[in-house]
C-alpha cells in the first residue's frame, strides 16, 4: 500500500461522507437541535433540582447548563457514531459497501479511513453547538475550544469505532432500534453526561460503578477537562484503549474469512 494511494482513498471517503451528510438536511438539523433541546429544556428544568458542588475541572460553583454542555457535545458524537453503523448497514443493503471493500487497500485501512471521515464530518456541528451554548452563558476559555479538538476527535473516533463494530452484525436497517435501546440510551444515561459521579454514588453505588466503567463517561470527562484547558489522563487513556479495542473488533468482524461477516454468509 503506497501512502499516496491510502491518502487519496481517505480524501475520497471523506468527500463522500461530507456530501452524504450535507445532503441529509433532516439529519443535520436534528443533530444540532437535539442537544439544544436538552440544554434549553432539560437544563432549565433541572437547574433548580440538581445542585452541583465544586468539582474539577471547574474552580467555582457552576450553572447546571455549564455542567451538561460537554456531555451534550459527547452525546452528538455518540448519536453520530452509532448512526454511522446505520449508514454502514444501509451501504451494505444498497450494495455500495462492495465498492469500498473491493478496493485494493488493506481492510483495516478502509475501515479506519471511513471512521476518520465519519468523525471529521460531525466535528463542525459539535463546534456549532458549543458556540450556540454561549447563549446560555456556557463560556469556556477561548483556548478551550482549540484544546478540545483532539478530545472531540478521539471521543468521536472511539464512539464511531463502536458503531463500526456493531454494524458488522446488524443484519437489517430495522434492527437499529435495538442499537438505540440497548446501546445509545444506556451509554448516555449511565454516564456523567447529565450528573456527576458523586451524585450517582449517592443514589446508587452500583450505577456509579457502571458509569465509571462506561467508555462514554470517559469521553465526556475528556472533553470537559479539555474545554477548561486541563487533561484527564485516565479518561484519555481509556478512550484510546477503547478506540483500539473497538477498531480491532470491527476489523476482525469485517474480515471475509473470519468474524461476523463470514459467519453471516454461512447462516
Amino acid at each position: 500500500m503506497s501512502i499516496s494511494h491510502a491518502l487519496r482513498a481517505l480524501a475520497g471517503i471523506a468527500r463522500r461522507e461530507s456530501l452524504k451528510i450535507t445532503g441529509q438536511r433532516g439529519r443535520l438539523a436534528s443533530a444540532i437541535v437535539r442537544p439544544l433541546v436538552w440544554l434549553g429544556l432539560f437544563g432549565a428544568g433541572f437547574r433548580s433540582v440538581l445542585g452541583l458542588s465544586i468539582i474539577p475541572p471547574y474552580e467555582t460553583y457552576i450553572l447546571y447548563e455549564v455542567y451538561i454542555v460537554p456531555g451534550l457535545a459527547a452525546m452528538m458524537l455518540l448519536f453520530h457514531g452509532l448512526q454511522s453503523s446505520l449508514s454502514m448497514v444501509y451501504d451494505r443493503e444498497m450494495g455500495s459497501m462492495r465498492v469500498l471493500l473491493t478496493a485494493p487497500l488493506p481492510r483495516w485501512w478502509l475501515l479506519t479511513a471511513r471512521l476518520i471521515a465519519n468523525t471529521l464530518a460531525v466535528i463542525p456541528l459539535v463546534y456549532l453547538f458549543l458556540l450556540l451554548a454561549r447563549i446560555w452563558n456556557v463560556r469556556p476559555p477561548a483556548l478551550g475550544y482549540v484544546a478540545a479538538f483532539p478530545a472531540i476527535l478521539l471521543a468521536g473516533m472511539m464512539l464511531g469505532a463502536l458503531g463500526l463494530f456493531l454494524s458488522s452484525f446488524i443484519r437489517q436497517l430495522e434492527n437499529f432500534a435495538g442499537v438505540m435501546n440497548f446501546v445509545i440510551f444506556p451509554m448516555f444515561f449511565a454516564s456523567t453526561a447529565l450528573y456527576p459521579l458523586w451524585r450517582l454514588e449517592d443514589v446508587s453505588p452500583s450505577l456509579a460503578w457502571i458509569a465509571s466503567l462506561n467508555p462514554f463517561t470517559h469521553a465526556v470527562e475528556m472533553i470537559r477537562f479539555a474545554l477548561y484547558l486541563q487533561v484527564d489522563p485516565l479518561a484519555s487513556i481509556i478512550c484510546v484503549l477503547a478506540l483500539i479495542g473497538c477498531l480491532a473488533l470491527a476489523v476482525w468482524s469485517y474480515d471475509p474469512g473470519r468474524g461476523f461477516w463470514a459467519q453471516r454468509m454461512t447462516d
Binding site: 475520497g12 471517503i13 462492495r98 465498492v99 469500498l100 473491493t102 478496493a103 471475509p256 474469512g257 454461512t266
Partner: protein, 240 residues
C-alpha cells in the same frame, strides 16, 4: 500468464456446497462467458474473485497474483460490475466515479479525465452532474461499467449485468464490452444465464450446481447439441 486462473475452488455456506472443485481460466484479451442457471453459483464465484468472501479451498490467481497471498495486487488489476447495483443513489454520476477513482489511487484530475472519457463512450458526458437516483436502470448500468473501467483494469468481471434490461440496452452493453476486449486487450469474464449473450467465438464455461459441467469454445457446444438452448438444457437438466 493467464488473466484469471482458478484451481480446485470449493466453497460452502454451512452444509450447502455452493462451488465444488472448480477450475477455470481466462486467457489475456479473451471474452469468456460463465453460463449457468439461477442458483448455479455464479455470484458466489464473483464474491470470491473480488475478495468479499475468503475461499475455503483452492487457489485464485489474477494476472499472476494470488488472491490469497497478494490480494492488493490482484484486486488492483481487477474491475468488477456486480449483479446488484452498487452506485450511491444520493450522489451524482461524477461523484460516484470520483469516489471509486480515489479508492483506486487516482488523483482528482485523473479521475475527472477518465470519467469523461469512459462516459463519453456511452454518450453520457452530459449526465455527469445528474443524481444517480434520476437515471434509468440501463443508464445506471452504463455508469457502473464506466466506473469499473476507470482504473484501466486488465481483467473485467461482469456479473449478470443485463438482467432486467431491455433488448437494446443489453445489446449496447454487450457490444461495448466486447469492443473493449479487442481495443484494450481487456480480459472479460461475463456471467449470465441468458443464452443469447453467448457468441460462437467465446470461451464458454457452463456452471451447474457449483460445478463446471462443460467448457470449451461456445461454437463447439452449439454444434454438439444442435442448438445452444438444447445443449444447455441437456447439461443443466441432468443431475450434477
Amino acid at each position: 500468464m493467464k488473466a484469471l486462473s482458478i484451481q480446485g475452488l470449493s466453497h460452502a455456506f454451512g452444509h450447502r456446497e455452493a462451488l465444488r472443485a472448480l477450475d477455470l481460466c481466462v486467457e489475456k484479451g479473451r471474452f469468456a462467458v460463465l453460463l449457468g442457471p439461477n442458483g448455479a453459483g455464479k455470484t458466489t464465484l464473483v464474491s470470491l474473485l473480488t475478495g468479499l468472501y475468503a475461499a475455503q479451498h483452492g487457489e485464485i490467481s489474477i494476472l499472476g497474483h494470488s488472491l490469497r497471498k497478494s490480494p492488493l495486487e490482484a484486486l488492483a488489476a481487477l474491475g468488477v460490475v456486480f449483479q446488484s447495483p452498487t452506485l450511491d443513489l444520493d450522489l451524482s454520476v461524477i461523484e460516484n466515479l470520483r469516489y471509486h477513482a480515489s479508492l483506486r489511487g487516482l488523483t482528482h484530475s485523473e479521475a475527472d479525465l477518465r470519467a469523461k472519457a469512459e462516459l463519453s463512450r456511452f454518450g453520457m458526458e452530459e449526465r455527469t452532474r445528474d443524481k444517480v437516483r434520476s437515471l434509468s436502470g440501463g443508464l445506471r448500468r452504463r455508469v457502473e461499467i464506466a466506473r469499473a473501467l476507470m482504473h484501466a483494469p486488465q481483467l473485467l468481471i461482469v456479473d449478470e449485468v443485463t438482467a432486467g434490461l431491455d433488448v437494446a440496452t443489453r445489446q449496447l452493453l454487450m457490444t461495448h464490452v466486447r469492443r473493449l476486449c479487442d481495443e484494450r486487450i481487456l480480459s472479460v469474464l461475463w456471467t449470465t444465464h441468458l443464452l443469447d449473450e453467448v457468441q460462437p467465438d467465446d470461451a464458454l464455461y457452463v456452471l451447474h450446481r457449483g460445478m463446471i459441467c462443460w467448457q470449451g469454445n461456445a461454437g463447439g457446444l452449439m454444434q454438439e447439441g444442435g442448438s445452444l438452448t438444447d445443449a444447455f438444457l441437456r447439461l443443466t437438466e441432468r443431475p450434477a
